[in-house]
Each structure stands twice: as structure tokens, then as C-alpha cells.
């Protein structure tokens, strides 16, 4: 330790930070500014009886664990390959880890291929949803200590971490992710759990809307894996492309997953939120956006790109602005001003064009008159998407935090139930 480190209060002890979400699991070393890897939170499950003629790439694939004669495929490079009878399944449900068997596969993969080190050398900090239940927390604690023999473990609510990543201990964290949009008040580093408000309108909801809209207009949604080659066609002309030769028996879940990836690309490139409630005339004046689908079909999108995105805000009960103001309204009157004073916007779905601006406007309308409303939204897409991870990275490498860990000794003595006490 030298004077410099004391000055900045940091002390790095080689901790790892895991931030599980519905879209992906973020893994990396504490003190770094971005996660080492972002692993999709879906796992490909192969057929029960493995084929005798394995394709060469799976042989060298260390993510595959021959367990129960099933094969598991983790991470983009393995999941996105068309394989016959491979089902795709997520291990998350409602913001919490649900399928522990699959989750273990992903953690195994992360240690073997991302961290490339032994788990017993690295303390582990996990993030969790603010509404995580006791049972789940204890299970995770048990898993990390019993299976992975971590030296120390800690669990923090992701809203707290997101607030820390923008340097706040008190903030209203509006997190819009793949499956949820939630508003979580954080007071001096603690989540006010009674005032958490969430809605199931997130990125996946938008993807479904986009898909419905495009299918209604008869646009062929062939994901990129189906296409062998394509010709250049004129705008709105029928696509000319040849199909790729694919293995038989592709499962519906995998095809859906691939289409969803495509829709995510579409929505991030095309959709936009208007700063004021949707108005046909205003929307028509904004320049169209051009988008080319994987099969070569392309066209301009005009007002529909605002109409679809509007569904995140116009809903009377579940609009993002309404969520945030409801959440603040449920808090004690004394903290409301400070919550309005720092509204932290985080989550991948907030990267939708115009999202923070619209949220700002909606909140301004609902906030009491002459309150100071301040929105804090990181500019970079990495900072916005990995807000909670970055907060965890900061927290785990702070000198004064090192006394907080549940060490393996403490776990031996007091068991898993102490996570409820030690990680508020």
C-alpha cells in the first residue's frame, strides 16, 4: 500500500463480478472498466442421444459438458450455430436465477473460458434483482461456496450498483432491460424495497411488437443463418436470396431465439421515442430510417418506428415515467426531493433513441412543481448497458468494502442464512 492508493481509496484483491440479467450475464474482474465477457443468458441444450458423427468444432468446444448424455452450448459462438434438435432455454425468470442446472453450466464456462483461473482464488461479487427472494439468495450463496469454493462472496442489488456506477448513494434507478422496466429507489446505499415498481415492458416486448408489425406487413423475417447468398434489389422489391443448407430438425425455440436477435438489431437501429406523446404529424416530419433485412429486402421506416416505441411510455399504468413517479410517491416524503434530484437511467433498453429525453419529460410533468429534477444517464453504450456491473467493479475494489465480504470461514460457521443479514 502506498500513499497513492490511500488517496483514491481503492484496494484491488482480485475479485470477480458477476451481473446476471435476462439478456446476458456480465463477467469480469473488479476494478476494470468493462466486463471481460457478456454471455447470453440462454443455453443451447443438445439432443439426448448425442450423434455419433460429431462435427469437429464441438470436439474442441470446452463449453460442452457431457452430462447425462446431454450437451450444453454456452456463449454466442456455440449457441448461434444451427444444430439439429438443439433447444434454447434461458435460466432466468422474473429477474432471478431460476434454472440452476443451466446456470451452473454458464458459470463453469465463465471460469474455464473467460476468467481462466481457479474459482478458489477470487472473491465473488454477485448482483441480484431488487426483488430477489430469500430462497434464491441462499441458494446462490450455497452454490458459490459449496461448488466453487470461493474464498468470499457478496450479493448486492443491481440498482444499488447502478447508482454507485454514477457516483450516487441516493438515487432513483430506472432500469429498462430485456424483460423488465423497473424503478428502484436507493437511499444511502440501501434499496427501499417497499417502493420498488416494475413492469414487464422491456426490450423483448418491443421485439415482439416489431415482429408482429413486420409480419403484418408481410415482410419476410429470415434470420441471417438461413441465407446463403442474396442479390441487391430495389427498395421494397421482393428479396432474391438463396437458402442455406441447414441441418434437419431445427427446434422452434432456437429459431425464435435467432429471430429475436434479428429483431433486437432492428429495434436498436430503427425505433425511436418521441420527446412528446405520439403525434402522427410530428412523427411524419422526422426523416425516415432505412433498414435492410438479412435477406436483402430493404425499405424506409417512417412514423411506425415511433408508434412501436411509444408503447413503452403511453401505457397509463406501466409507462416508464409513471413507474418512476409511482415509485417516488411510495417513498417517505423526506427522501422524495433527493430521489428526484438524481434519477439514474440504466439498462440496454434505454439506449433506444430518445428514451432518456422522453422519460425526463414524463417525470417533469409528474414531479411536484418546482422540484429539481436531474437525470443521470451515461453516454457510452457500454456504461449504460453494464451500469450494474461497473458499479460492482467499483464497489469490490474499494478498500473499505473489503470488510464486508462473507468469507468462507463465516460461511462454515454460520451457514447460508447469514446472507440475509450481511447483504442487505
Amino acid at each position: 500500500m502506498s500513499g497513492g492508493t490511500m488517496l483514491y481509496g481503492g484496494d484491488e484483491i482480485g475479485a470477480l463480478v458477476f451481473d446476471p440479467g435476462h439478456h446476458s450475464l456480465r463477467v469480469g474482474y473488479a476494478q476494470e472498466d468493462s466486463p471481460k465477457a457478456e454471455i447470453p443468458s440462454v443455453v443451447g441444450i443438445g439432443a439426448k442421444a448425442p450423434d455419433t458423427n460429431l462435427d469437429p468444432e464441438t470436439k474442441t468446444d470446452n463449453s460442452v459438458t457431457p452430462n447425462n448424455a446431454r450437451k450444453y452450448y454456452v456463449d454466442t459462438n456455440y449457441v448461434n450455430v444451427p444444430r439439429s434438435q438443439m433447444e434454447v432455454q434461458t435460466y432466468m425468470k422474473d429477474g432471478m436465477i431460476d434454472n440452476w442446472e443451466l446456470f451452473e453450466k454458464v458459470i463453469d464456462y465463465a471460469y474455464a473460458n473467460v476468467i481462466q483461473s481457479e474459482p478458489e482464488y477470487h472473491p465473488v461479487l454477485f448482483s441480484e434483482a431488487s426483488w430477489n427472494v430469500r430462497n434464491n439468495r441462499e441458494k446462490l450463496t450455497e452454490l458459490m461456496f459449496e461448488k466453487y469454493n470461493v474464498p468470499a462472496f457478496f450479493l448486492v442489488k443491481n440498482a444499488v450498483l447502478a447508482a454507485f456506477s454514477s457516483g450516487r448513494a441516493t438515487a432513483l434507478v430506472v432500469d429498462s432491460g430485456a424483460t423488465h422496466t423497473s424503478a428502484v429507489p436507493v437511499h444511502e446505499g440501501y434499496v427501499l424495497s417497499q417502493a420498488v415498481v416494475k413492469s414487464p415492458l422491456g426490450g423483448d416486448f418491443l421485439s415482439r411488437q416489431c415482429r408482429q408489425h413486420l409480419e403484418k406487413h408481410g415482410i419476410d423475417l429470415s434470420p441471417v443463418y438461413k441465407i446463403a447468398s442474396k442479390d441487391v434489389v430495389k427498395e421494397r422489391d421482393n428479396a432474391r436470396f438463396t437458402l442455406r443448407k441447414l441441418p434437419e430438425n431445427l427446434t422452434q425455440s432456437w429459431q425464435n431465439y435467432m429471430t429475436q436477435l434479428m429483431m433486437q438489431d432492428f429495434q436498436m437501429n430503427v425505433l425511436q421515442v418521441l420527446e412528446n406523446p405520439y403525434d402522427e404529424r410530428v412523427a411524419a416530419q422526422i426523416p425516415m430510417v432505412h433498414y435492410e433485412f438479412p435477406n436483402g429486402y430493404h425499405q424506409d421506416f417512417g412514423s411506425e418506428r415511433f408508434k412501436i416505441a411509444e408503447s413503452l411510455f403511453d401505457n397509463a399504468m406501466l409507462g416508464a415515467g409513471q413507474l418512476a413517479s409511482t415509485s417516488v410517491g411510495m417513498c417517505d416524503a423526506d427522501v422524495r426531493l433527493s430521489l428526484f434530484g438524481s434519477v439514474v437511467v440504466t439498462g440496454g433498453n434505454t439506449l433506444l433513441q430518445g428514451f432518456p429525453e422522453r422519460l425526463n419529460r414524463d417525470l417533469q410533468l409528474r414531479a411536484p412543481s418546482n422540484t429539481r429534477l436531474k437525470m443521470i444517464s451515461a453516454n457510452g453504450s457500454v456504461e449504460r448497458r453494464f451500469g450494474a456491473w461497473i458499479g460492482g467493479s467499483i464497489l469490490a475494489s474499494i478498500g473499505t468494502f473489503q470488510q464486508m465480504w462473507i468469507s468462507s470461514q463465516e460461511y462454515e460457521e454460520a451457514g447460508k442464512s447469514q446472507v440475509e443479514r450481511k447483504c442487505p
Binding site: 484483491i13 474464498p151 423526506d334 412543481s369
Partner: protein, 433 residues
């Protein structure tokens, strides 16, 4: 050219075997002397032209800028850090134990080998609140005063939460176990906590050493209610209020206008009466006044910066004009203490510094008295800062005048009367505060 640059930068890097600080300084000095004695540049010849003819080593100027780290023209790649001549200090991945922890868990971090292992430096930040505890007998003896609202279990739960969340009552109310103990508000928790603390202190006769706090729950509840009401105002209500206030202002303005007009009329009437009486006298007096005025104007003093400063202070533009919130309807009192937006960045900085200097709480609880005194205090602080700058300008100007005078009449010294000589600034500060 390269020699030229080296000359300007005073660098000489020709095969020096090992650089230590002493040798580096020595060679630098010697080279400097040598270059001085080398062939001199004739008067009027441009430096660049001379450098083309005579370089100290008679080498041709480089055609291309060099950036190799090898040649004599070591270029900009020269590593600056070479001045540090010590050996690299080693770091190691060393175990440490943290005295702030209750167990003896050992973690590892990077540490200099040379640093001796002292206590974990961050352990000293582990501050814990002292929250009193009570025994069963103590509880039975003193704390059974409010049975219908607070049972022993509930009180225990309250104190457990207080310890866990370091008296953050808002978080405590949030984590209060509602299934087992029913709902409690923040005020109820605070009320009970401070009640228990006071009772315990009384029982243990600690009241002399420690200040006991009395929590006025009723007042707090009313305050919260008011705050809720303020927040719950709809935009229509706010607008209506604003509208009414504007209307009132309009009416008042009209009333004033009318009054002014009647007064004017009255004046005109009385003046007309007077003019008739003193018609003969007035012109001469007016002329006299004009003359006087002219004389005064001629006698303008020499312009000085001090005047403007002093004027500004006298007029009263100094200090802070805090926003008067009476016009804007219902508002929080804490808003009164907000600095108005038109204050410059420098003033704000100076103010912050002054507040720190006098060890004042930068955000005191906004009661009526505190609000006014705090605002006055800050206004005075700004005035003090301005007076300080004014004083220093005055002193500076006086000094410069003195020097001017001495330059103009050599041999004479200007004696400044002692009343004008500034007292020590410290005493002045004290008196000003």
C-alpha cells in the same frame, strides 16, 4: 537546426555513459559554459542562418527530422523517466488480514515488497455507531411504558434494525418486518427509539455525560403531512394559485397607480398656488445653484479603482439578495436558503471557503431563525470578502501612489498618516466577523 534546438532546450546528450543526477547537472553546466565560448554569432546575423554555417560539432543539419532513439538527436522519443535512477521496486501479491473484520479471513492484494506490513489502512474507516442495549430486567423495569403500541419483541426488532442500518430510519422502516410486527411509520420508529434511549439514560443516570434527544413526533407528523400536501398539489391547483397571486399583484398595482395620480394632482395644485406667491424669487436662486453645481463638477478627483469598489459597497449591491419566496405561493422553507442563481462562480467559491473557514454547517436545519441568520451570515460573508478585496486594492493603490510620489520628488518620503495605515488584517477580520 538540431543543435539549435538542443541549444534552446539546454540539452546535451552526446555519449554520456551513465546519468546520475549530479553528473547530469555537472555536464549541463559545463556544456553551457563551453557553448558560450564557442564561435560567436556576428551581430545582425540571424540565428537560423548562423546555425547553418556553424554548428558546434560542424555536422550537417539533418534533412529529415529523426525520431530514432539511437542517434545523437535523441528526438522526442527520449524517455523522460530516465531521470529516476533508482532500481525498480518490486510488487508482490501479498496476503493481508483486515482488523475491521470479525473473522480472520485473509485476502490478497498487490503491495510493495519494501513497504513494511502495517495494519490494513482502511480498517480505521470502520466506524460504528454506539447504540445502547438493554437487558431483560432493564426492559421490565423501565421500558414497559407503552405496552399497547410497543411489545418487547417489537422493541428488540427495532434495535436490531437500528444496529444493522446505523439508524437510517427510512431504511429501517422499509425493512421493518410487517408480517410479524405490523406496519410502523418512520415517525413511530423514531419516537420509540428516542424514547427508549432517554429512558435508559435516565435509568443509568447518564444524562450528565450525554445529551438526550427529545423527539417531537407530533410536530414531525404535522410537518410530513404538510410536505405531502405540498407534493400532492396538482398542476391545476398550482396554476390557480399562481393566477390568483398575479391577479392580486395587478390589483395592488392599479391601486398604487391611482394613489400616485391623486397625489400628483394634489402637488400640482399646491405648486400652482405657491408659484403665484414666490414668482419673483425663484430665478436667482436657481442660477446660484447652477453655478455651485458647475464648480463641483470641475473639481473631479483623480479616478481610482477604490471609488468603484467603495461605491459598490455603499450602494449596497454587495451581499446577497436572497430570493423572496412570498410571491410564489406555498414553498419549502429550505428553498429560502438556496443561493440565488445570479451569484457568480467566484462569489460562491469564496462563500464556500468562508463557511469552511468559520466552521459553519453548510446545510443547517431550516428553521425560521436559522434561515434568516444563515442568510444574513452568508450575506455578511460576501460583504467581508468584498471588503477584503477592497482593502487590498486600497493598500496597493496607496503604495503605488507613494512610489509615484517618491519618483516624482526624489529625496522626499511620503508620510502616510497612521490612521490610513492598515491594521493587521487578522484583527480586522475578527472585528468584521
Amino acid at each position: 537546426m538540431s543543435a539549435d534546438v538542443r541549444d534552446i532546450l539546454d540539452i546535451e546528450r552526446a555519449n554520456t555513459p551513465e546519468i546520475t543526477r549530479d553528473s547530469f547537472l555537472a555536464t549541463k553546466k559545463r556544456n553551457f559554459e563551453r557553448t558560450k565560448h564557442a564561435s560567436r554569432r556576428p551581430e545582425g546575423m540571424h540565428r537560423e542562418v548562423f546555425a547553418l554555417l556553424y554548428t558546434d560539432k560542424k555536422d550537417a543539419p539533418p534533412l529529415l527530422p529523426t525520431d530514432t532513439a539511437l542517434g545523437i538527436g535523441a528526438g522526442y522519443k527520449q524517455n523522460k523517466a530516465r531521470l529516476g535512477m533508482k532500481k525498480v521496486r518490486k510488487w508482490e501479491w501479498a496476503p493481508f488480514s483486515n482488523p475491521a473484520r470479525n473473522d480472520a479471513a485473509v485476502f490478497h492484494h498487490w503491495k510493495r515488497v519494501s513497504d513494511d506490513s502495517t495494519d490494513y489502512p482502511f480498517a480505521k474507516f470502520n466506524k460504528q455507531l454506539e447504540i445502547p442495549s438493554y437487558t431483560m430486567t432493564e426492559y421490565n423495569a423501565h421500558l414497559r411504558n407503552n405496552i399497547q403500541h410497543w411489545s418487547k419483541v417489537q422493541t428488540d426488532h427495532l434495535f436490531d434494525l437500528a444496529r444493522r442500518f446505523d439508524l437510517r430510519f427510512i431504511v429501517m422502516a422499509d425493512r421493518w418486518n410487517r408480517q410479524q410486527h405490523g406496519t410502523k411509520t418512520v415517525e413511530e420508529l423514531k419516537e420509540r427509539y428516542y424514547e427508549v434511549i432517554a429512558l435508559l439514560a435516565k435509568a443509568k443516570n447518564q444524562s450528565i455525560e450525554k445529551k438526550t434527544f427529545v423527539y417531537d413526533a407530533e410536530h414531525e407528523r404535522r410537518r410530513k403531512e404538510q410536505l405531502e400536501k405540498l407534493f400532492k398539489r396538482t398542476t391545476q391547483q398550482v396554476e390557480e394559485e399562481q393566477m390568483l397571486i398575479n391577479e392580486m399583484k395587478k390589483i395592488e398595482a392599479r391601486k398604487k397607480e391611482r394613489e400616485r395620480k391623486t397625489q400628483d394632482l394634489q402637488k400640482l395644485i399646491s405648486q400652482a398656488d405657491q408659484q403665484n406667491e414666490h414668482a419673483a424669487n425663484t430665478p436667482s436662486t436657481r442660477k446660484y445653484e447652477k453655478k455651485l453645481h458647475k464648480k463641483k463638477v470641475h473639481h473631479t478627483p483623480r479616478p481610482s479603482k477604490v471609488d468603484s469598489v467603495v461605491n459598490a459597497i455603499e450602494i449596497g449591491s454587495s451581499g446577497i439578495k436572497f430570493a423572496d419566496l412570498r410571491g410564489s405561493g406555498v414553498s419549502l422553507r429550505s428553498q429560502k436558503m438556496k443561493l440565488p442563481a445570479n451569484i457568480g462562480q467566484r462569489k460562491v467559491k469564496a462563500l464556500e471557503q468562508a463557511i469552511q473557514e468559520f466552521k459553519v454547517d453548510p446545510a443547517p436545519p431550516p428553521t425560521e431563525d436559522i434561515c434568516t441568520s444563515f442568510n444574513e451570515l452568508r450575506s455578511d460573508m460576501v460583504l467581508l470578502c468584498e471588503l477584503r478585496t477592497a482593502l487590498s486594492t486600497c493598500i496597493y493603490e496607496m503604495e503605488s501612489l507613494k512610489h509615484q510620489y517618491e519618483a516624482a520628488c526624489p529625496g522626499k518620503t511620503l508620510n502616510i498618516p497612521p490612521s490610513l495605515v492598515p491594521i493587521k488584517t487578522e484583527t480586522l477580520e475578527n472585528s468584521a466577523t
